[in-house]
């Protein structure tokens, strides 16, 4: 055995440790997203089974869903994926204000989408207890809406973090993770839109 160095030199400093752990958060987050997508898959397949086997799918008096306004809000949500990507682009070039601007814009677009959804919910003349159709509609849109809300909150957190000095110097895993989440939420919405509004 050779002589070991003094204790303090060998002891890991807490910072280096944090950094070592931080590397894995993106891996962990991606694994989590894959897992989360299965919940949606379960809801989607439940919806499909119920719809395909239903004797009477729409509740009495309901003709179908109006799709034009929701399509408009869909466009808003989907384009926010683009603005998020732009924000990331600015971040990678070190232009922190460009990042903040587009990041905030994406948050706003998400909020507009939620607003549109709230309006739609209030205008519908069926409720969550109106048969399987009502149950599925509100569960799916509500669960997705919760994800949009979580996305906005995550983005707010990242925005706030960007004001901490030197925080974004070496690239920020949180931003990558949040934007991945946002793209995920968008893709899910497109599928949902097809299932709920286009498939009738």
């Amino acid at each position: 055995m050779t002589i070991s160095p003094p204790l303090d030199a060998a002891a890991p400093s807490p910072e280096s440790h944090e950094a070592a752990h931080a590397n894995y958060s993106l891996t962990g987050f991606i694994i989590f997203l894959c897992s989360e997508s299965v919940i949606f898959l379960a809801f989607f397949s439940g919806y499909a089974v119920l719809k395909l086997s239903a004797l009477q799918w729409l509740p009495p008096g309901v003709e179908g869903l109006e799709w034009r306004t929701p399509l408009l809000y869909t466009v808003v949500l989907v384009s926010s994926s683009g603005t998020v990507a732009l924000a990331e682009h600015f971040l990678s070039k070190g232009q922190i204000w460009g990042f903040r601007a587009f990041w905030l814009l994406s948050m706003a677009m998400g909020a507009v989408f939620l607003y549109g959804q709230a309006i739609e919910w209030r205008s519908l003349d069926f409720g969550i207890t109106s048969g399987s159709f009502g149950s599925c509609f509100y569960l799916l849109t509500g669960f997705h809406g919760l994800h949009v809300l979580s996305g906005i909150l995550l983005m707010a957190l990242m925005l706030q973090r960007s004001f901490r000095p030197a925080n974004y110097a070496a690239g920020e895993q949180g931003v990558i993770a949040t934007s991945l989440f946002w793209h995920f939420v968008d893709v899910i919405w497109v599928l949902l839109f097809l299932l709920l509004y286009a498939w009738s």
Partner: protein, 563 residues
Amino acid sequence: MTSTAGVESRILRAPHPVPGAPDNWKRFFSFNTDAKVIGIQYIATALFFLLVGGLLAMIMRGELITPEADLVDRTVYNGLYTMHGTIMLFLFIFPVLNGLNNLLIPCMIGAPDMAFPKLNAAAFWLVPVFGVILMASFLVPGGPASSGWWSYPPVSLQNPLGHLINGEALWILAVALSGISSIMGAVNFVTTILRMRAPGMTLTRMPIFCWTAFSAQTIQLIGLPALTGGAVMLLFDLVVGTSFYRPEGGGDPVLYQHFFWFYSHPAVYVIILPVFGVFSELFPVYARKPLFGYPFVAGASLVIVGLSLIVWVHHMFPSGVPQWMRDAFMVTTMLIAVPTGIKVFAWLATLWGGKLRLNTAMLFALGGLFNFVFAGVTGIMLATVPVDIHVNNTYFVVGHFHYVIYGAATMGVYAAIYHWFPKFTGHMYYEGLGKLHFLLTFIGTSLNFFPMHPLGLMGMPRRVSSYDPEFAFWNVIASLGAFLLGVSIIPFLLNLVSSWVRGAKAPANPWNAIGLEWLLPSPPPAENFEEHVPTVISGPYGYGTGRPLVEHQDEIERALLQA
């Protein structure tokens, strides 16, 4: 400069200070982020709930020792088996396995801790939380959930007293929290295994236990969200009055069965895969031979993951599913026997001609393997549609799965606890008490669960508190076996407590085993090797080959002896 051994002598001599946490028993009652503390927290919590679930089982077997329903009320009996199953699965077997994962994975791959220590601690602390919620359901009006651990609608949707807070709602809440906790754990385990292995430890040099844990946790990640989704819909049906499963509103009760079994069949592999891992670790150690067919044993775990996701309908053969579905799922279910059989042959070949050392851990592993093979045969019988149509919902099924979950999985867990007890407590267990525990467990298991097979074939339905007197003979034997199993816990707990308190000091490697965890002192210091992780230079299980596992192995071993 680090020492030539690549491992600081400081680490090899270290006691086990946990940074920033009390260095005594109190650390087990704190929000500690050390995987080794969390592992023991999981195992202790699980053993507590094993006692609770066991007590409920004793009451049931007490009821069943006579044909009449004379000990408890019939509705109470419904609550008993529902809670027994739920507790044993969600509060005993899953937590105890996660405890093993926490103890073993970081040490075996040379990681200082789990990838996300705080998430790890949070996942653990959810267990007592939903444990309390589930226990609280004994106290609410109407009693606990009573629709079986399947919780099939429409029975589970009845809520006769009309209270918002009822046993069924608490049951769903507890299961959902359990799911969240397991997902948090699974993200952590998978990330740790993928990203934190020691230098030189390629996937093909990873111990089988880590392969099986990885496979099991992958199943959790894919399957649990489906169950959670299904459970959310059940909760809405129960509480809000939606119509996902309510036929009155156009819902489909069989849809729930699909969600439930899409997860709950794979869940049985979440249970048995880590136990396969335990077998694969223990047999080479105690037979002094390399594991036979390592790549096949490792690969078979992944095949099992894939297959386990496409067999669930074998639980629904009598549920009015179309005939093509029955045929297809019968075939996929039988295919599972292939990778499973590969593993069994690999273990037998490992044992063959070995110098067997029959200590308590090895006895439990051998007993577990024996019971597993028996249960595999009854499993294949059940997978055959014509047989299953005859015996589904009878005691034959109950016998099958208790052979697996008690006979194989729980005995495998006992094997693991004995085998790694010296490593993580620093004390040797008492061999005599251990062997007594094994003897009582093995005899108790056989007496308790074997009679269920003839009973099922004779037609005794499950989930009943009274039965035709023609079934009495086998039921008496089963009840006696159950009480014996209850007794068997006494030497076990006695052994754990007394050897931890005053057992002989354990050396670093009491079984002459090969593996990174045995190159750490007993108990390992917090953060294991820290950053002085030895470089792995060969595959696991090099028994009798003389190949060192890591660089500078001699020096590390010498230092451990001196320490």
